[in-house]
Every structure is written in structure tokens, then in C-alpha cells.
């Protein structure tokens, strides 16, 4: 471990400094050890990485970094060297900042152990500790060396005239410098550009009065100018006219005095009262419509009242006389309007005078219609303006025709807003400008709506979905619709609008549809449930044999099932329980199962048929041959017709029924069906001829090996034979369906004359 060591630890005066921002001035000295004032920086095992730290020096607000300091303050603050604080004659000031540029003090530089802080005034350690350069522009005007332990305070600052020398005077003590600065002002600069125009000045004072003007002249005579405030007054005395100023009220009064109380032809001015009176007296009141002049009242009370409830005719009042021919004043005819002039109290009825004859010509219908048409002045003006554009198409001008075509095009393109509702045959085909095809109804054509709500096809002439649905049900179910006038038995099937149903409650009294009497079924269920197949694992000694067949939903008379037991029954009176239906007895040959027949009808792994008759399961057979008496059947007995013990083939039946007599046959011979031979042989047959049967009841059956070695038998038969469908080895030769046997194959050949044809059928093994 190396120790960074300093011989002296000094600091500037920093009584005003916070403890955490103390400045540590160190001076390295590799010659001295053991000085008690050493500041020992003791790095720990951790690396003291100062690469993110920056040392600065601050004095009276001036922050310096080491880069700013001149030697000997160019302390190497590289992390590695600083960590070991290299020995040597190195002096410097350390202040540490962390990566966040926050001051880091000795206290919280964790890896560093500060042995001792030194407080108090600084101790001079060298001739100079700091250089301060004061610059004016780029010129260094001052260079101050500050010794360690000396505090500096800026005293006064004085600006000296330009050209003077700058001075600095220490007005403090040796350890507390108070620097008074005298800095010269700079030299006078060049003249600047002209400034902008200044604001307008104040108004000047009024000028002096001018000289009096000359007298005015009117028509060559001097006139007098009056300074009239309100008006002028003109007076005349003899040949002398006097004009003088006058108050305005005097002027008005003078004018008013000149206005007469009543206008006349010579003086048409009139005062307000006269005007009002004239307006009032000019009002014309209607005084009735009279049949003739004689009827015009002479009594004032017989006139109608005016707006003021007065019956007295006044000037301008008027009335109408329908037949004024009896008027005595002058000769007039027809209907006249009379106007009143004069005063009733003076003139009475004679104040009425004919004014003008009223047009009595009655309005024509066209005139009356025109009056009632609502035509407006604007309309008349419009018609007048377009007078030349109105007329027959042939008379229209080209421009009017163009306008008309444009209008039609506009209607065509914006029909929805131009065309109102249109109906055809009482049915709307255009509504709000939208074409609507009416529904078909009655004899009208239109849209045929195929909706489920319509079941009738009489109006639409088209099948509706419901009609199709009904038809579909008719076809698929094959039953009629429920008839409320019919009776039904349990099991009867009908269809309704909602499906396919089977009667579960007998209906003896016809009535409307009652769903509780019917059970809905499906065609698929009917198919699936017709014949069912299942297995039974019931133990041999258990009476009730259980079978599950999921496709059978209901158990009805005639139900067929096929059951394959896994155990052969060993018990009598056994029953079958199908699904959840009751167990019903099994019958064989009409009687209950015995310990003899049990193993026959209910045999392990042998499927057996069972028919339900409503109360029993009747054994309907199976394909398992359980006859054990074959050994007793012999060919000799069959030929003799005496064999009666064989269960499957009884020779007497064979002899008298189907085949007739069994006989031998030799290769190359001829089969004569009339002989009713029954032949079976595995011997080779190279050639064989079958002749035609002679009568309709002849049939023939044989088992023949149709080959000789690897050569197929040459079989010859009448060309009248018809080879049946399903016959093996059939080929069409020259258009004839031909049975062509192949080698190494044994055929069962059947020939029969049915009265019309002789058929041939062969199956080979």
C-alpha cells in the first residue's frame, strides 16, 4: 500500500465556506515523513476512479479548473496518479465533483480516509499559490499572484479616462487583500449613422388679425356685411332697405305669421290644424246600396252609420243606386255611384250627385276563375317576360325548346325529387320519386310475394313457400292433413302445419286439433325404427332377456327386431325386454319357450328375428341350421320319395315339386328338361346340349362342372332361351345375351319354361 502524502496542508481562508465545500490545498513533498500535519489519503482496496471527477478551484465566485491554472497548480488529477498521489514537488488545489457534477467532499469520498482537517487561517507555504489574470478583451491587464493563506476582496472599482493606466491598490492588509481597481475608459469611437426622424412638433400660436377688407358691392352698390348670429331681418322704408340681424325665434314667428289658417288657390300654404281637418273631412263613408233614386233616404236616420257611428252623410260620402233612371237632377241610366257634397243640414238628400256609372256587366266564369286564381303581380310579370316562350311546341323558339329538353333531363336525372307520387289503376307505382311495383292481387299483375304468411296460390299464381312446404309434406309423409271432421285411431298418422304426427289418443268425436292427442314423429325415425338390431348379454339362466336398440322410439304392433345373444338361453318362459318398454313373453311355434326350445331360439352368436304382436315377441326364425338329422337323409330315400326326417329338404317335396327324379348324366350327352333330372357331378364334361322344354311347367336344375380339364365345356342350348339378369358369365355376342361357361367352374343351372319364355339362369362357383 502506498500512501499519498503531503508535507503541508494549507487552505485558503474559508470561514464562509460550507464544510462540505472546503478547499483542500495540498503540497506534495517526497522528502518528508512523519509530519503530524500531513493529510493522508488512504485509498482502500477499491479503485478510486477519479476519471468522472473534476477538480475546480473557486475564489470569490470565480471558478477555475486545473486547466485554467498555471504552474505550479497543474496538479495531475488523473485517477490513477491521484489515487496514488504521486510523490514529488507538486502543489495544487483539489475539489471533487461526482458524475452528477455535484461537489464531493472529503467526507463522502468513501474510499478515502481523511486523517485530519486543518481549520483556521491559511498558512503560507510558498511564494505564490495562485495567479489571477484580469483581462480586458484579449489583453492581460493584470496578473496577480495570490499567496496561500491570503484572502482577497474586491474593493472599489473606478473608471479612469481613456488612455489612462489601470491601477490596482491594496487597501487591505497583507493577508486580507482589498483590491481597488482603476480601469481606464476606452477611446472615443467613430461617429455613428444618422438616427430616425423625430416626432412632429406642437401647433404654433395664432397669427395676428388681418386688415379690414373692402366693402362689398351688390349690383355695383356697396353692401353692408352683417355679423348675424341667428338670422337677418329685412325692412324697407321708402327707397331704403334695412337688413339687420335677428333672433331665430323672431324669424320663425315672422314666417308663421305669413302662413294662412286655411289654404287657398292663391296661398297654398296651410297650418297644421287645417291640414288635419282637411284629412279628416276628406274621409269617404259608404252610405248604402239602393234600388233606385227614390229609395235614397231623405231621413238621415235611414243611412248606415259610418266608423264614428254617425248616420249623417258628409262630404265625399258615397252610395250606389242600382237603377238611377228616376234621378231628377239629370238624365242617367243604369247603376250609378253618387258622391255627397254640401252639408246635410243645408242640402239634405240633394247633396247627393252622380259621380260615375258602375259597370254592371257580370264577370264571366273565366274572369271569375282568373280573379280566384291567386295570380300575383310577380306572376303576371313573369308571364309577360316569357310571353314569347309560351305556346305550342312547334311555335317555341329554339332556345325555349333547349330549355325544355334541359328541364326534362333534369327531371330524368333527379326523378326522386322531381316526380311526385304516381298511381296506375289505383295502385301506387311511384312513391316519393321511387318506383314501386305493386303487389299482385286479383287480376292485377305485380310482385308475387313468396312469404310464409301466404298459403293460398289463388291470387299470386305462384307457389308460396308455405304452399311448397305443404306439398313437400304431402309427398314426404304420404298422409293427409289433419281433418277436424274425422275420427282417428291410435297409430294413425297425419300432418299439420308444424310437422308429421302419430295419434296417441284415439279421437272418436271429431274436433279441432289438440296437440296432446298427437306425438310428433319424423320420417327418419320411422325408417330407423322399422327394423332394429341389437345384442343381448343376458345370462343363460335369466328369464328376462334385455336388448337395447336406440333407433326404436316406440313399440308398436309389427315391430321387427334382430337379436344376437351372447349366451345361449337355458331357461323356460323367457321374455324380451326391449329398451324401456315392458318385457313381453317370447313365443316359439305359438307357445312359450321351453327348456327344449330355449337353446334353439336364443342361441349364442346366432341372430334371430322377433316380431312383436302387441303382447308377445314371436320367434320369426334365424339362419342357423340346427338340424341334426341329416345323416338320416339318403339319396336313395329321396329318389324313392320316402325321406321324411330331413328338416330342410324333404325328398317327397323334391320328387313331387321342383326337380323330379335324380338320375345320372354322361358327358357329351343331352339334357332334356322334360325328364326333370336332378344332376350333380364333379366329373369333367367336355360338351353338353340342353334341349328346349316342351311344356310350360317344365323346369330343370342341375349342378354341373362346366369344364374338361382346363377347357371350358362346349354348351349348346336353343337360341330361344332367355338368359336372366344376374346369371354369371354372360356375354353379348352379336347382340345376343349369351351364357358362356368358363373352365374350372361348377355351375348351378336353372331352366324353366314359364309359358312365354324359357329362361336360363346359372351361378358358378
Amino acid at each position: 500500500m502506498e500512501y499519498a502524502r503531503t508535507k503541508k496542508v494549507v487552505r485558503l481562508k474559508m470561514t464562509d465556506c460550507d464544510k462540505k465545500e472546503r478547499l483542500i490545498i495540498v503540497q506534495g513533498d517526497f522528502t518528508g515523513y512523519g509530519d503530524v500535519d500531513w493529510l493522508r489519503i488512504n485509498p482502500t482496496s477499491e479503485v478510486w476512479d477519479l476519471s468522472t471527477m473534476k477538480a475546480t478551484f473557486e475564489l470569490n465566485g470565480i471558478v477555475k479548473t486545473f486547466d485554467d491554472l498555471t504552474q505550479p497548480f497543474a496538479i495531475n488529477y488523473d485517477a490513477e496518479q491521484t489515487a496514488t498521489m504521486p510523490l514529488g514537488d507538486i502543489e495544487g488545489i483539489l475539489r471533487f465533483f461526482n458524475a452528477d457534477n455535484k461537489p464531493v467532499t472529503i467526507d463522502n469520498l468513501i474510499p478515502v480516509t481523511v486523517v485530519k482537517y486543518v481549520h483556521g487561517d491559511a498558512v503560507r507555504t510558498s511564494n505564490f499559490e495562485l495567479n489571477i489574470e484580469v483581462k480586458q478583451g484579449d489583453e492581460v491587464v493584470m496578473n496577480i499572484g495570490v499567496e496561500a493563506g491570503v484572502s482577497v476582496e474586491v474593493g472599489t472599482t473606478t473608471t479612469l479616462p481613456a488612455g489612462s493606466n489601470a491601477t490596482v491598490t491594496n487597501s487591505g492588509s497583507a493577508n486580507h487583500l482589498v483590491l481597488d481597481f482603476e480601469i481606464p475608459r476606452g477611446d472615443k469611437g467613430d461617429e455613428g449613422p444618422q438616427g430616425p426622424e423625430g416626432p412632429a412638433g406642437k401647433d404654433g400660436e395664432d397669427g395676428k388679425d388681418g386688415k379690414d377688407g373692402k366693402d362689398a358691392k351688390i349690383n355695383g352698390v356697396n353692401t353692408l356685411t352683417l355679423n348675424t348670429t341667428y338670422g337677418i331681418s329685412l325692412s324697407q322704408s321708402g327707397n331704403t332697405a334695412t337688413i339687420s340681424g335677428k333672433e331665430i325665434t323672431d324669424v320663425v314667428d315672422s314666417i308663421s305669421s305669413l302662413i294662412p289658417a286655411q289654404a287657398s288657390e292663391q296661398n297654398q300654404l296651410a297650418d297644421k290644424n287645417f291640414v288635419n281637418s282637411s284629412v279628416q273631412t276628406a274621409t269617404a263613408n259608404f252610405r248604402g246600396n239602393w234600388a233606385n233614386w227614390e229609395d235614397v233616404p231623405t231621413n238621415v236616420n235611414d243611412y248606415p252609420e259610418d266608423y264614428a257611428q254617425s248616420k249623417t252623410p258628409t262630404v265625399n260620402d258615397y252610395l250606389v243606386v242600382q237603377d238611377a233612371s228616376d234621378y231628377t237632377g239629370e238624365t242617367i241610366e243604369g247603376t250609378w255611384r253618387f258622391k255627397y257634397s254640401g252639408t246635410w243640414s243645408v242640402n239634405g238628400k240633394n247633396g247627393w250627385h252622380p259621380e260615375y256609372q258602375v259597370n254592371e256587366t257580370p264577370l264571366t266564369a273565366a274572369q271569375l276563375a282568373a280573379l280566384n286564381s291567386g295570380i300575383t303581380v310577380e306572376g303576371v310579370s313573369q308571364i309577360t317576360t316569357n310571353e314569347n316562350a309560351i305556346g305550342n311546341l312547334s311555335t317555341l323558339s329554339t332556345s325555349s325548346k333547349t330549355d325544355l329538353v334541359s328541364a326534362i333531363n333534369e327531371v330524368n336525372s333527379t326523378a326522386s325529387s322531381k316526380v311526385s307520387d304516381v298511381t296506375v289503376d289505383g295502385t301506387s307505382v311511384v312513391t316519393d320519386g321511387v318506383a314501386v311495383i305493386p303487389n299482385a292481387s286479383g287480376s292485377n299483375y305485380g310482385v308475387v310475394k313468396l312469404t310464409n304468411s301466404l298459403v293460398s296460390i289463388s291470387n299470386t299464381l305462384a307457389a308460396t313457400p308455405s304452399a311448397i312446404n305443404i306439398l313437400y309434406r304431402d309427398i314426404i309423409t304420404g298422409v293427409a292433413t289433419y281433418d277436424s271432421t274425422s275420427t282417428y285411431a291410435v297409430g294413425d298418422k297425419v300432418r299439420s302445419s308444424s310437422g308429421y304426427y302419430e295419434c296417441i289418443v284415439a279421437i272418436t268425436n271429431p274436433h279441432a286439433w289438440n296437440a296432446s292427442e298427437w306425438q310428433q314423429i319424423t320420417i327418419q325415425d320411422e325408417i330407423d325404427g322399422k327394423i332394429g338390431y341389437g345384442t343381448s348379454t343376458t345370462a343363460a339362466a335369466t328369464v328376462q332377456k334385455e336388448v337395447t336398440i336406440s333407433t326404436i322410439k316406440t313399440l308398436k304392433v309389427g315391430q321387427l327386431i334382430i337379436v344376437t345373444p351372447t349366451e345361449t338361453s337355458t331357461v323356460a318362459n323367457s321374455t324380451i325386454k326391449l329398451n324401456d318398454f315392458p318385457a313381453y313373453p317370447m313365443l316359439y311355434d305359438g307357445v312359450a319357450i321351453t327348456t327344449t326350445t330355449d337353446s334353439y331360439v336364443w342361441r349364442a352368436n346366432v341372430p334371430s328375428w322377433w316380431l312383436f304382436d302387441g303382447s308377445n315377441w314371436i320367434f320369426a326364425g334365424h339362419g342357423y341350421d340346427i338340424n341334426t338329422t341329416y345323416s338320416t337323409v339318403t339319396v336313395a330315400n329321396i329318389i324313392a320319395g320316402t325321406e321324411t326326417t330331413g328338416r330342410l329338404v324333404r325328398s317327397d317335396y323334391l320328387k313331387n315339386g321342383i326337380f323330379g327324379v335324380v338320375t345320372a348324366y354322361s358327358s357329351g350327352g343331352t339334357i332334356t328338361p322334360d325328364d326333370k333330372y336332378l344332376y350333380t357331378s364333379t366329373a369333367d364334361i367336355s360338351a353338353l346340349t340342353i334341349v328346349a322344354p316342351s311344356s310350360p311347367d317344365v323346369r330343370y336344375m342341375a349342378q354341373i362342372n362346366m369344364s374338361s380339364g382346363s377347357t371350358a365345356t362346349t354348351l349348346t342350348y336353343p337360341s330361344t332361351f332367355k338368359v336372366l339378369e344376374g346369371c354369371d358369365d354372360v356375354q353379348y355376342i352379336a347382340g345376343v345375351r349369351t351364357f358362356v361357361p368358363v373352365a374350372s367352374k361348377r355351375y348351378q343351372i336353372f331352366i324353366e319354361n314359364d309359358g312365354v319364355n324359357t329362361v336360363l339362369f346359372a351361378k358358378g362357383i
Binding site: 371350358a712 365345356t713 362346349t714 349348346t716 356375354q731 355376342i733 345376343v736 349369351t738 358362356v740 361357361p741
Partner: protein
């Protein structure tokens, strides 16, 4: 192979059956063909398949010979 000359052309017999108005003979043998008017056919087929030929029929008592003439 058996056949007949009908109008200058060969009418071949079926190998499966001989059908007449009266009977049908399946899997016929030589004697069956001969008994029904068929003769054995001897076909002298040409060797060079690249050339064009026309057949020439020569009917003998018990057979029909086919020769081929180059076109």
C-alpha cells in the same frame, strides 16, 4: 381363328359362341366352326410395318388365306 368371306370381306367368328337361328354354341370347337360354315383363317401378315398394304383373300376348301400386297 375362323371366319367367312362375305361380299369380299372376312367376317370373323366369335371365339365365345356361334349363334345361329336355332341354337347357341358356347366355347365352340373346330368342328363346330366348320359345321357352321366357318373356315380357318391363315393370315400371312407382312413383316415390314412401315409399308402400306392391301389384303388379298384366297378361299380354299377348308381355310381362307390372307396375303398382303404392297401399295
Amino acid at each position: 381363328m375362323y371366319g367367312k368371306l362375305v361380299n369380299g370381306n372376312i367376317e370373323y367368328a366369335s371365339t365365345k359362341a356361334i349363334i345361329t337361328d336355332e341354337q347357341i354354341i358356347t366355347n365352340p370347337q373346330r368342328e363346330d366352326y366348320l359345321a357352321n360354315g366357318y373356315k380357318e383363317i391363315v393370315n400371312n401378315a407382312p413383316q415390314d410395318a412401315e409399308k402400306e398394304y392391301i389384303p388379298e383373300y384366297i378361299e380354299q376348301e377348308d381355310k381362307i388365306i390372307i396375303n398382303y400386297k404392297e401399295v
